[in-house]
Amino acid sequence: MKSMWQRAGVMGAVWAASQSALADYAYNLQEPASQVAREVFHLHNLIMLVCVGIFIIVFGMMFYSLVKHRKSVGHKAAHFHENTTVEIIWTIIPFIILVGMAYPAAKVVIEMKDTSNPDMTVKITGYQWKWGYDYLNEGVHFYSTLATPREQIDGTATKDEHYLLEVDDPMVVPVGKRVRLLITANDVIHSWWVPAFGVKQDGIPGFIRDSWFKADKIGTYRGQCAELCGKDHGFMPIVVKVVSEEDYKAWVAKKKGTAQAAAADNTKTFDVKELVERGEKVYQANCAACHQANGMGLVGVFPAMNGSKVATGPIAAHINIVVHGGRPGTAMVGFADRLSDAEIAAVVTYERNAWDNKMGDAAQPADIAAARGGAAVAAAPAAQ
């Protein structure tokens, strides 16, 4: 039985390979890089063959009739109708074909859904509009944002090969390991999809759903968010780098080092120039989607930063909005959980000194730490 399906898959693959004229066009499922994706690939080839076969038979008959049974060639209409035998046959045969297809499909469903015995677990959180990754066993945590520069999207720069499919900080996993994914979302529903692994799982705010993959080959695999999640739904790609076990360990060590350095940064004091430089990067990754790279926002939807009352007003209020979020009901979320003290300090300083905002003042990590506690301190007297 199994070999029959495989042969069908091979036939499909041969057919695909023969279409070399279309080599530049991506027109079939991506090359699978996991067992599940491979099974899906073969399942699709099988059902395509069955459908094409039925189509040719049924419409071959119809077109024969269109040619031979036309009035213009003098064909006289027969007057037969209702034939129970024929009608039973054409009900039963499709049913049998369907059972034949349901069986292999059901096996793949069961395999896809079996998330037991993972080698490692990664929690993935969808945000408007980026992905957050938590490596639960290693304690590594980072965000992954679109790396394509704005100029390429606006058409003022040449688009590079991985236009819209590149991120600043990709997910990294070791090859040949069973990776369990815990997928959720922070704001609206997103969907984490990497075609080469055969994984597509919606992230639902308030709930955790799981999925899994085991990558066969070292390489870089790309996907996109697959559930409409607002304005920048088309701009939150997924990149997974599959590396060797050693490279993975080195990457984990490096990530931990970065985390320590970031923690150390939170206790330092910087000058305005350092903060502005760093803040620009943080701004591009976290703020520019709404407030725009030129700080002008979008009229009627997202407020401008350039010349805004917040960015040119008292610094404490400015810090408070970035840390705790804007007025309820607006799209402005608090970044307390997403950015470190140093990063928030940098971005606030950047916003106060970029474009036409020449405030010249700076927020320091210590100010942010205080602002984080600020809510708690303010709440404390009320509790007494």
Binding site: D24, H81, F95, Y163, P195, F207, G234
Partner: protein, 526 residues
């Protein structure tokens, strides 16, 4: 239109208001049928223009014409208007014109309610379209209205909810009218199993509407209270569940798919026997197949949600039940082919559209079968493959059947034959254009292009460009249709009462054009 109005005034035996008041106050099933069809045509051009804007932005990678948020508004409104403003009103228009004529009834059962069913629609249409000019623009959360995204929007989202309520009300009143008319007002001797297929399919469709529209109304009402009155039906932080919306929505949404296609089956089942000069092959099995599809449609909703993450048992159940629908659908296709087999075929425009319907709808059916396989669906859910699938079903399916029906009955409605050359031009441009737009989308979806994105990676460029070219061919060829309809209303060769050589049924026994009042005394069917 005013020519027609005068002609009808001469005929009326009690005074009718003239001008705009005639149309606002009319209770005549033919007038109301025409109103529905004109409304549908205007909305077709409106939502079609949106589609051309969408395709223009997608002609090449990068953002050229619009902001991503406006792109989302266009895709959302295109979907809502095409479904609720074009396909459903067009079918209701056919039902108004044809059901009384086909069953030998003098009018619909509730003529005043009929007037209301129609005039609610433009109100809803204005609310939807007008929201483009509100702060924040029109609704941009997708026609499926999934929370929590739908909770985030501005005032136009509340307006859309209200518009959906109004359209649902209109559909329910229309359905009650159609069911009552069919069950109570058939000519003596016209038993249920002698009814024309179009009447049968509409009877079943009307039951589907009555069963599902209140479900949709409930779902959007919960959205409304979540947005404005502090409830947490779909908010996990308050004990709710965003996925519950999807279950409720698709419990409406999947039967809705058949609401959009069963009347199409009915129209095609009238046309193919006429131009094959041969009775429908399996009348009884067609009726049973339609009923089976309608019943099964209530058991398959979660196949829209395989990527949500359901337990294995649920995935398997919804996969099997969905695949099962292929059986009665196959029965219908086999029946149409068997009806043509050994007929005496001619290829006037209605027949051409009906043949294209059978062929291209089947492609949409097959891609539906591919999507029914849950593991394959995981790869294809929310990609352009789905976009290709439902446009094959709704454009070459529902819309082509509407064209076929217009060409088929227009001579009866206007008393003039349409221009066959123009009709065939419209057909060939449409069928070629339609395939150029939507066939490449299968490849885009397989290769991994998500739907509802305003900009895409470079490997998707070529097929998107082909699709955009096709969209303009398809879009502009509908102007041929508009010209043809206007010309046919104004003049043309006189249509006989029979109109088509092979046509059977009561509607062909009345004069062409059908007088303002028909079957004031019921005909007797042997």
């Amino acid at each position: 239109m005013s020519d027609a109005a005068h002609a009808h005034d001469d005929h009326g035996h009690h005074a009718h208001p003239t001008g705009i008041m005639r149309w606002l106050t009319t209770t005549n099933h033919k007038d109301i049928g025409s109103l529905y069809l004109w409304f549908s045509l205007i909305m077709l051009f409106t939502a079609g223009s949106m589609a051309l804007l969408i395709r223009s932005e997608l002609f090449e990678p990068g953002m050229q014409l619009m902001h991503p948020d406006f792109f989302n508004q266009l895709t959302t409104m295109h979907g809502l208007i095409m479904i609720f403003g074009v396909i459903m009103p067009a079918f209701t228009g056919f039902a108004n014109w044809q059901v009384p004529l086909m069953i030998g009834a003098p009018d619909m059962a509730f003529p005043r309610m009929n007037n209301w069913s129609f005039w609610l629609l433009p109100v809803a249409g204005i609310m939807l379209l007008g929201s483009f000019w509100l702060p924040g623009g029109a609704v941009a959360g997708g026609w499926t209205m999934y929370p929590p995204l739908f909770i985030q929007g501005g005032v136009s989202y509340d307006l859309t909810i209200l518009a959906v309520h109004i359209m649902g009300l209109s559909s329910i009143m229309g359905s009650i009218n159609i069911i009552t008319t069919i069950l109570n007002m058939r000519a003596p001797g016209l038993t249920l199993m002698k009814m024309p297929m179009f009447v049968w399919t509409w009877l079943i469709t009307a039951y589907l509407l009555i069963a599902t529209m209140p479900v949709l109304a409930g779902a959007v009402t919960m959205l409304l209270t979540d947005r404005n009155f502090g409830t947490h039906f779909f908010n996990a932080a308050g004990g709710g569940d965003p996925v519950m919306f999807q279950h409720i929505f698709w419990f409406f949404g999947h039967p809705e798919v058949y609401i959009l296609i069963l009347p199409a089956f009915g129209i095609v089942s009238q046309i193919i026997p006429t131009f094959s000069r041969k009775p429908l092959f399996g009348y009884a099995s067609m009726v049973y197949a339609t009923a089976s599809i309608a019943i099964l449609s209530f058991t398959v909703w979660a196949h829209h949600m395989f990527a949500v993450g359901m337990p294995v048992a649920a995935q398997l159940f919804f996969m099997f039940s969905t695949m099962l629908i292929a059986v009665p659908t196959g029965v219908k296709v086999f029946n149409w082919v068997a009806t043509m087999w050994k007929g005496s075929l001619t290829f006037e425009t209605p027949m051409l559209f009906a043949i294209a319907f059978v062929c291209l709808f089947t492609i949409g059916g097959f891609s539906g079968l591919v999507l029914a396989m849950a593991p394959v669906d995981i790869q294809l859910q929310d990609t352009y493959y789905v976009v290709a699938h439902f446009h094959y079903v709704l454009v070459s399916g529902a819309l082509f059947s509407i064209f076929a029906g217009i060409y088929y009955w227009l001579p009866k409605w206007t008393g003039h034959m349409y221009n066959e050359t123009l009709g065939k031009t419209h057909f060939w441009l449409s069928v070629i254009g339609m395939n150029i737009v939507f066939f490449p989308m299968h490849f885009l979806g397989l290769a991994g292009m998500p739907r509802r994105i305003p900009d895409y990676a470079l490997q998707f460029t070529e097929f998107n460009q082909i699709a955009t070219v096709g969209a303009f061919i398809f879009g502009f060829s509908q102007l041929v249709f508009l010209v043809l309809v206007l010309k046919t209303i104004k003049g043309g060769a006189k249509a006989s009462d029979q109109v088509w050589e092979g046509a059977q049924g009561l509607e062909w026994t009345v004069p062409s054009p059908a007088p303002y009042h028909t079957f004031e005394t019921a005909p007797v069917v042997k």
